[in-house]
């Protein structure tokens, strides 16, 4: 009897193993979370110095249009208005998403609903391949093909929001498409069967049933594409022209947060306003990607099928 009680009181090796497994997997998870936090903390603490250490007012930074770090205005205020870059980043992101979404959705529907066989055989591999093309190569092709092309048609120098939009369009196409494919594949089969059984055509089924059921996931796919466009640096930098001006047309040189950030980081000295203000741009980038993620989460929750 005593022995049996002991046996049950003792922690079984299984239990120990279970604890072990849970602990190491939790440690891995916490490790990832702590990386995220150290990056957030690190970038934000440098970025905030612009306001705390150098006394730039937030309004001047977010709404100011004169970007000449290192110089001061007649009133003695540093000229670090980031509005041109913020506007440029939003414009290229929104335009490229507008352009890429119909194509990505079209291809995704084609691959899942119309012709899964051809889709899997030809479209899928090409799309996966495109994810691996380095952004430098995209930028280089943008510089040698897209910019001259725009120059021929619209005049001007060819550099600008339009060129960046076209490059980003191709760059986010694979991300958006493959996520949309996953979403569409997750729509249960019986939805479609029920629709067909009621005599609906293929398009009616797609449009009225599949797309409706998948819409939160599809929105997430689009927003992920936008997040990628927002954060892209090297390719955009090569084709947008990098002029810190609020874009007044699609074909005049403009700039984005990332393009100004990459271009100037190496040339500034750590701890100076010129350097800290670049970290402020990086902080905006971080908070935007946080925002994009919270948005997709919110859409997912809101649109989840009950």
């Amino acid at each position: 009897m005593e022995e049996t009680v002991q046996h049950f009181k003792k922690r079984s090796p299984k239990r120990k193993q279970e604890r072990f497994g849970k602990t190491i997997s939790l440690v891995a998870t916490i490790f990832i979370v702590s990386i995220v936090f150290s990056i957030l903390f690190f970038v934000a603490s440098r970025g905030l110095r612009t306001f705390t250490e150098h006394g730039v007012s937030a309004i001047d930074f977010f709404a100011g249009t004169a970007w000449r770090p290192g110089e001061v205005s007649d009133a003695g205020e540093p000229l670090v208005g980031a509005f041109p870059m913020i506007a440029g980043s939003f414009l290229v992101t929104i335009f490229s998403a507008l352009l890429a979404t119909p194509f990505a959705l079209g291809a995704a529907i084609f691959m899942t609903e119309i012709s899964p066989k051809t889709g899997k055989k030809y479209l899928q591999p090409v799309i996966e391949l495109l994810v691996g093309i380095p952004s430098v190569v995209y930028g280089f092709i943008g510089l040698t093909v897209i910019v001259p092309f725009i120059r021929q048609i619209f005049g001007g120098t060819g550099f600008g929001v339009l060129a960046a939009t076209l490059v980003l369009f191709v760059m986010i196409l694979p991300t958006t498409t493959s996520m949309a494919v996953d979403t569409l594949n997750a729509v249960p089969r019986y939805y479609r069967e029920a629709s067909f059984a009621m005599g609906a055509t293929r398009w009616q089924t797609i449009y009225k049933v599949v797309l409706r059921a998948a819409s939160p996931g599809l929105l997430t796919a689009v927003i992920f594409g936008m997040a990628r466009a927002f954060g892209e640096a090297l390719a955009v930098q090569m084709v947008i022209g990098n002029a810190a001006l609020v874009p007044d047309s699609l074909t005049t040189p403009a700039s984005t947060l990332t393009s100004i950030l990459t271009m100037n980081m190496g040339n500034t000295v750590l701890g100076t306003l010129e350097n800290d203000v670049l970290w402020s741009l990086a902080t905006i980038l971080l908070f935007m990607s946080l925002f994009f993620n919270i948005l997709t989460r919110w859409i997912g929750k809101k649109g989840a099928m009950k």
Binding site: T29, V131, N293
Partner: protein, 294 residues
């Protein structure tokens, strides 16, 4: 318009859209390959790069790319695997889990330039690792973790719950069920995921410029002592990768044949990514076969 007609139009539009995508992508690939492949020669693949003369090759950069890729996968796969197991098996449905998931997704949409700069100030300067393969691999790990965790978790949850229940019913612990039953069954998916993430790592430049560095010291391929600076195995040496090399040639390259080297190197990158994809497909299929027949 009758539903039938609408159906026809819609299907044609879809064909058109997909066709345009294939056309864009195919012309992109052709453009890169047509410009790049003619640069291929034995020297191109066996010679080190030259700073200001004609005729540089890419052997060292190519090797560095693969070595860095290997190290990154070695560091990031166990961590991603752990996190994926936690999220798919142990994580309770509460706000902490949601918070963890959000954090991982934020990491995935982080601009790579921010990762690179963080890596520079953290690993290179703070941890005193210098411009080294190790710094580069750590930066790439940050870059790779979210995607990898997600794909591994997806492969784990894709295993039918009947298998999980079977394991638990046999009296196995959750941990045993995962490691003995779920993980082996999910292996094909995991391997495919790991290899596909390799493609993205292989082409990354912005995160490496400030971490693994932009110079490729000569390597002695007969020296396998990992302590020696010229040894290919040394992880504390700076290592310019192929993608960084392309970036460097286009920005400050002084070699007269810069555009040719850059075109050739781009083609090599594309071909490498292509072979990763083929390999992923092949391995996935093969393991699937082995598991199901055994």
């Amino acid at each position: 318009m009758t539903p039938k007609k609408a159906d026809k139009i819609a299907v044609n539009v879809l064909y058109g859209l997909s066709g345009i995508i294939v056309l864009i992508l195919a012309s992109l690939l052709t453009y890169i390959l047509v410009r790049g492949v003619p640069q291929f020669s034995i020297e191109f693949f066996t010679q080190p790069a030259k700073t200001f003369e004609v005729g540089g090759g890419i052997i060292i950069q190519l090797y560095n790319s693969f070595y860095l890729l290997l190290l990154t996968l070695l560091i990031s796969t166990p961590v991603a695997m752990g996190a994926a197991i936690y999220l798919s098996v142990y994580a309770p449905q509460n706000s902490f889990t949601t918070f963890v998931r959000t954090a991982i997704e934020v990491l995935s949409s982080l601009p790579s330039i921010v990762v690179g700069l963080f890596g520079f100030l953290m690993f290179v300067v703070q941890f005193k690792l210098g411009f080294s393969i190790l710094s580069g691999a750590l930066a790439l790990m940050i870059f790779n973790l979210p995607l990898l965790t997600r794909t591994i978790e997806d492969s784990l949850t894709a295993i039918p719950s009947s298998q999980r229940e079977g394991g638990l019913a046999l009296g196995l612990s959750k941990w045993e069920t995962v490691t003995r039953i779920i993980l082996p069954a999910a292996m094909p998916g995991i391997i495919t995921g790991v290899i596909l993430s390799a493609g993205r790592i292989f082409g990354e430049a912005a995160a490496l410029i400030y971490t693994a560095g932009q110079s490729a010291p000569a390597l002695d391929f007969t020296n396998w002592n990992p302590m020696s600076i010229t040894s290919p195995l040394n992880i504390m040496r700076p290592a310019e990768t192929l993608a960084v090399h392309i970036w460097k040639i286009n920005s400050e390259g002084l070699m007269p044949d810069g555009p040719d080297v850059s075109a050739g190197a781009s083609a090599v990158l594309i071909l490498a990514v292509l072979s990763f994809n083929l390999l992923a497909r092949y391995l996935g299929k093969k393991i699937q076969k082995k598991i199901t027949s055994a």
